[in-house]
Amino acid sequence: MPTTLFEKLWNTHVVREQVGRPSLLYIDLHLVHEVTSPQAFSGLRTSGRGVRRPDLTFATADHNVPTTNRALPIADPIAATQIETLRQNCREFNIQLFDINSAEQGIVHVIGPELGLTQPGMTVVCGDSHTSTHGAFGALAFGIGTSEVEHVLATQCLPQTKPRTMLIETQGALPEGVSAKDLALGIIGQIGTDGATGHVIEYAGEAVRSLSMEGRMTLCNMSIEAGARAGMIAPDELTVRYLQGKQFAPKDGNLDAALSYWQTFKTDPGAIFDQVVEIDANTLEPFVTWGTSPGMVVGISGNVPDPREALTAADRGSAERALEYMALAPHTSIEDIHIDRVFIGSCTNARIEDLRAAARVVNGYRISGSVKGMVVPGSQNVKRAAEAEGIDQIFREAGFEWREAGCSMCLGMNPDILNAGERCASTSNRNFEGRQGRGGRTHLVSPMMAAAAAITGHFTDVRKWQFK
């Protein structure tokens, strides 16, 4: 019987099936960060359990870390304790840690792929909802809670109920200036923030195939914003090319075996999905969110919607509350929304290609006098690569701050936050109330759109940009 990519991943990882109970799934790669792990390690200690496979477990500090001078001690004592706790836990349980001063440090979902840890045909978990990012390699990758982190540490397995499957089939190609981020926002706008709840999404079609690996990661990253358990894309030649030579990728004698194994991870023709969604990529434009949930999104040529036109009373209420929080009036043209801050960063859009795309827009321009801009590379590797290409110079000369790698203002657990009332064009993934700082107003956009807004001081259609 023809099966889907998801089913192949599932079937090759079931350790044990039991009637009336979730299946026991084997986990190939467990990524750990400082915020969601301390209670899991202390749970292990309390119950006298160890880490079953420290060799399949990798840790980094990303959420809490300062993005300024790393040589200085961390100013926030509680954050410092959390990072120190991670260090101690990794030492005690023999887990490899990419600590804040290591050359490989970075956002957990950026470093997994770039170190070659994430590979096709794997199950990947992390105590972080954006673990869906790793699905870009044809892996089954999903976020878990801290109790489950403890479960995986202790057993390398996780009891899981089989999710349903959803195919998102794109037709046509993305127009010039429309990026993977816009595709993701367009999908969420269409199916809603709970449109894929209980499902694993497979993305397919021309527009997905023609994305770079970075673009595929951006798309899979945002799957959770549609409520999905995971998002995935079948591996192809591009996937293989990306992985070749990476630090932890299979090498020499293992490479051929790995290649033929990876090829088996694709959906057979005729395989059935529980749901199929079609997306016309040709008609997509650069998107900007106007509200406090990623589904509240509209094209750059559009206007802020009128809550009175909402279909249900609940939607009307949410839209009214969102507009009040965002201090926006219905019918305002998106291009007329002025911003105070620009954040280019996060596990959605802080890979080298994202920085290149933004730098191409910025090149030769100066940031608007009323805007403060910040670029936070996703990892130390990305930062070094960008510096080698002179991208940091382009940003600096335009007036952006160039920072050290971490989550930074994506969630503002470190000092990088919005002040109350500040409006930000952000390449991150969540525009929830207060996400980037209490009272801060976040608009989600692509790196190119963020760059253009930084220059003009308001949202600007990057499809009409005069590149210098």
Binding site: L24, P38, E148, Q156, R229
Partner: protein
């Protein structure tokens, strides 16, 4: 984990949909390394005004909701971040059950691990409960997990469904890591058959 069987308690209504875990427990409180003590920060930015005073217009600050242990709320509750601090905060605050038309997956899972029961009821019934909670002083519900019912003393009765195994875990307060470890031998056999290059 504390077992969950039957529970009767006061109902609080949070009439919003898509409440994300950033609202349930904002990031500035995620730096603690313990599982306890998160209740005082529950819904922090909504519960407190910027000057630190209680926000009188927020539902949970309504004196009528004091001591509530059952939360009735809108669809897609718990979306966003996977932070288990969200159920820790809800449980620490005193909630034992949350009733909504739908929950985000990771959140619902996290609740289960902490003895917090999430009940999915159709939108109409949730709205009915919300209305009753608003109209009646000290409105109480009884949740019976053995029979999978939600009832009040005024004629409301609804049946809900829950996965059998999840129900068993809650009823017995099972340690699921212990359960998995019973299959150690099988895990080892599986490991010995994994492709060689996956370390």
């Amino acid at each position: 984990m504390v077992p969950f069987r039957n529970h009767t308690g006061r109902v609080a209504l949070l009439d919003r949909s898509d409440v994300d875990t950033d609202q349930i427990i904002p990031k500035q409180f995620l730096k603690r390394i313990e599982r306890t003590g998160f209740g005082e920060f529950l819904f922090y930015d909504w519960r407190y005004l910027p000057d630190g005073e209680l926000n009188p217009s927020f539902a949970l600050n309504d004196p009528r909701n004091r001591g509530a242990s059952i939360l009735v709320t809108g669809k897609n509750f718990g979306c966003g971040s996977s932070r288990e601090h969200a159920p820790w905060a809800l449980a620490d605050f005193g909630f034992r059950t949350i009733i909504a038309p739908s929950f985000a997956d990771i959140f619902a899972n996290n609740c289960l691990k902490n003895g917090l029961l999430t009940i999915v009821l159709p939108e109409m019934q949730v709205a009915e409960l919300g209305q009753r909670a608003q109209e009646n002083e000290d409105y109480q519900l009884t949740v019976n997990l053995e029979e999978c019912t939600v009832t009040d003393s005024r004629g409301f009765s609804a049946a809900f469904s829950i996965d059998d195994f999840q129900r068993k875990c809650l009823l017995e307060g099972l340690d699921d890591i212990g359960l998995t470890l019973q299959h150690e031998a099988q895990i080892s056999v599986f490991e010995s058959q994994r492709p060689a290059w996956i370390r």
